[in-house]
């Protein structure tokens, strides 16, 4: 990372998301703050009910320096669509429209509206900060909670230990719409994330970024381990850094040999209960995902 970019990305006086009350080490707030540094103050922001709206919008302490509004939980993409349409109708110039929604708000309750908006090629950026559970309500399982993870609704019981279903392939779901631009990222790979936000900013039509955003509170990690754990997810192949552009899939970081998943997972309290068989199942699931995306890259010529 260049010194100039590094300076730009560090905390400064002209933050557009500042003074919020997110937990220490919050990955989601980092995803929002960094993206807004790229997009700038002429940006309309939509956030559904969820962590980032809960920590940023408590009247009269409002934390966004640009235009921002909370949507209904299911309504991120539909409210974005209305804003994009109104901006066209009102002939506004030089602006961006962006949504920040969590994993539940995106892959579960908000998926219908997101699908419709992508289908219409609505001109906005949708950023899903994925902390892999409903954190704002107290760590309940979402459609993006990974296999085996313990949440308050997928507890580590004697009969069923942690989440019994695999994480939805949100990136592939979105790409299958023929979206104008989609990418995965993490809050730890800052330069890569910034590059992808810049690419989304330059895209005409709908862009979707799926950003891994660890949550110390929900994952059971130290508050200074957010970036470390996000990096670990990529290094052991549990998070795939990829892009979809012009109908082509591309893997950004092909790892020939993954780091072992055991240490990465069991350092997080949400996985502490996992046994050997569980780890094997998670590895198998990971390998299947890689095969599928590699096939997509091959088939689509990416």
């Amino acid at each position: 990372m260049s010194e100039a970019l590094s300076a730009k990305l560090s905390l400064s006086d002209d933050e557009l998301f500042l003074g919020h009350k997110a937990c220490a080490g919050c990955g989601g707030s980092l995803a929002v703050r960094l993206a807004l540094k790229v997009l700038g103050e002429r940006t309309f922001v939509v956030l559904p009910a969820g962590c980032m709206s809960a920590v940023g919008f408590l009247y009269p302490q409002l934390a966004f320096g640009c235009n921002a509004i909370i949507s209904t939980f299911a309504g991120t993409a539909s409210m974005l669509s209305g804003i994009a349409a109104a901006a066209r109708a009102l002939k506004l110039r030089d602006y961006h429209v962006v949504g920040f929604a969590g994993d539940g708000g995106t892959a579960d309750i908000g998926l219908q509206a997101l699908s419709g908006a992508i289908d219409r090629h609505e001109n906005f950026i949708y950023i899903c900060y994925d902390n892999e559970a409903y954190m704002n309500t107290g760590v309940q399982k979402s459609g993006l909670t990974p296999l085996g993870a313990r949440t308050t609704t997928s507890p580590a019981g004697r009969v069923a230990a942690g989440a019994r279903s695999r994480k939805k392939d949100l990136f592939e779901i979105v790409a299958a719409h023929g979206i104008d631009y989609a990418a995965t990222a993490t809050v730890a790979h800052t330069y890569d994330y910034i590059r992808k936000v810049e690419k989304a900013r330059a895209t005409v039509g709908t862009s979707f970024l799926h950003v891994l955003a660890p949550c110390p509170t929900g994952w059971g990690i130290e508050t200074d381990q957010t970036l470390e754990v996000a990096r670990g997810a990529v290094d052991c192949g549990l998070w795939i850094q990829a892009e979809y552009e012009g109908g082509h899939y591309r893997i950004n970081k092909s790892t020939r040999r993954f780091k072992p998943i055991a240490e990465h997972l069991t350092s997080q309290k949400r996985f502490a209960h996992l046994g050997k068989a569980d780890l094997v199942a998670i590895e198998k699931e990971r390998d299947g995902r890689w095969k599928r995306i590699q096939r997509l890259c091959g088939a689509a010529g990416g």
């Binding site: 309309f44 669509s81 209305g82 349409a85 109708a89 506004l92 509206a113 219409r120």
Partner: protein
């Protein structure tokens, strides 16, 4: 008769209630139309889509994926100070229910047409008023329309009311499904220039502005929430005055007036009055005439607004009556019709409280005939001397015969 020179350019067309709403929306020139199809609302959005496709209407038309998204998109547009319109019905209205409260709390002056239709289960596509009356507390101004001309005119008026700085509250225009939405009538369509002069572009008091960024749709805790709700309530109360001003200005420009939140028919000396709303008012008027010809002093009070509730006007109109019936197409199970409850509570403090009966009729599109209404008057008169069951289902078969 039209009183202004602008109004003389009006053309008469033979169109349905749905098309009249579409024309009203077209003439209001919304920036954004977002809608999802549902019977019997579809013709409204089909016409608007056709006009957009033909370049006759410059709105952004969003083919959204649900009614929830339709209203959510309208709120997004409204947050930027754009004018927006949608239409729905029945199951769709309930599906967007979360957004109804959201839009009124956010003070987004959206106009929506609702084709009044029965609610499942059992499935039924025909007209009754259970859908909108279930949502009386959603914070929307609720207007009930009787004919196609009123539908067109009130669609235009609705924007003027909703966008007024003292109101900033969304409006739901209710048309009885099929009976009104699909009935064709001659309708005067005002000239665009005349509507433009009556309804200038919306100037939002508060909006998301690139030059003056703001945060909207926020959270307010126990220390502030109540004050927002009090403001919302007061704005709704202000609507009564604003709607009267808007109607008077509309009358001045177009020569048609709808007479406030309630309109009486032969009520002045009536001893027995039937209160109702929507398209059945025409049938009730006929029944009143028949009974008046027989020398019976009956009348009708039509409620045009259910929110804000015209309590004062109702009290004034009914204070000297001996019996009041409420005819409505809905039932709050285990109690009474929603309109009856409100009318009864309004009259609770009256010095000589009239006898009150509730006639629940027309559910799921069952016809309400003039004979049915005449019988209601007969029952009301009888009730002044001997007690009657307060809530009665009209024209109903015994359930073991169904």
């Amino acid at each position: 008769m039209p009183s202004s020179s602008l109004a003389s350019t009006m053309q008469s067309h033979f169109i349905s209630g749905n098309e009249a709403v579409a024309w009203g929306a077209r003439l209001a020139r919304p920036h954004v139309i977002a809608a999802y199809p549902i019977t019997p609302q579809t013709v409204v959005i089909e016409r608007l889509a056709e006009w957009v496709a033909e370049g006759q209407l410059g709105s952004e038309f969003l083919h959204v994926e649900s009614e929830h998204s339709a209203l959510s998109a309208c709120m997004g547009a409204s947050a930027l100070g754009a004018r927006s319109f949608t239409a729905s019905s029945s199951q769709g209205l309930l599906y967007m229910a979360e957004c109804l409260h959201y839009a009124s709390g956010g003070r987004f002056p959206i106009v929506m047409m609702n084709a009044n239709r029965a609610l499942a289960l059992p499935w039924n596509i025909y007209g009754d008023q259970q859908d909108s009356l279930t949502l009386l507390s959603s914070g929307w101004i609720q207007i009930y329309i009787e004919d196609a001309q009123e539908a067109l005119d009130m669609t235009i008026q609705a924007f003027a009311i909703a966008e007024h700085a003292d109101v900033l509250t969304p409006v739901m225009l209710n048309l009885d499904g099929f009976v009104l939405t699909h009935t064709y009538e001659p309708v005067q369509i005002p000239a665009q220039e005349a509507v433009d002069a009556f309804l200038p572009p919306f100037r939002a008091v508060s909006k998301m502005d690139l030059e003056a960024p703001t945060n909207m749709g926020f959270t307010a805790g126990p220390a502030h929430y109540t004050e927002f709700k009090v403001q919302q309530h007061r704005a709704m109360l202000e609507t009564t005055r604003v709607a009267a001003e808007v109607d008077a200005e509309f009358a001045r420009r177009f020569g048609r007036s709808y007479g406030g939140a309630v309109t009486g028919y032969r009520c002045e000396d009536a001893e027995v009055v039937l209160v109702t709303l929507g398209s059945v008012a025409g049938t009730v008027r006929d029944a009143v005439d028949v009974l008046r010809d027989r020398g019976v002093a009956v009348g009708m009070l039509k409620l045009r607004f259910m929110r804000p509730f015209p309590a004062h006007e109702i009290e004034q109109a009914l204070v000297a009556t001996r019996a009041v019936g409420v005819l409505e197409k809905d039932i709050s199970f285990g109690h009474a019709g929603a309109v009856f409850s409100e009318v009864a509570s309004t009259l609770a403090g009256a010095a000589n409280r009239p006898v009150l009966l509730n006639f629940v009729a027309g559910l799921g599109g069952r016809d309400i005939s003039r004979a049915d209404v005449e019988q209601m008057f007969v029952d009301l008169i009888a009730a002044t001397t001997q007690p009657r069951e307060r809530v009665r289902f009209v024209n109903v078969q015994e359930t073991n015969n169904v």
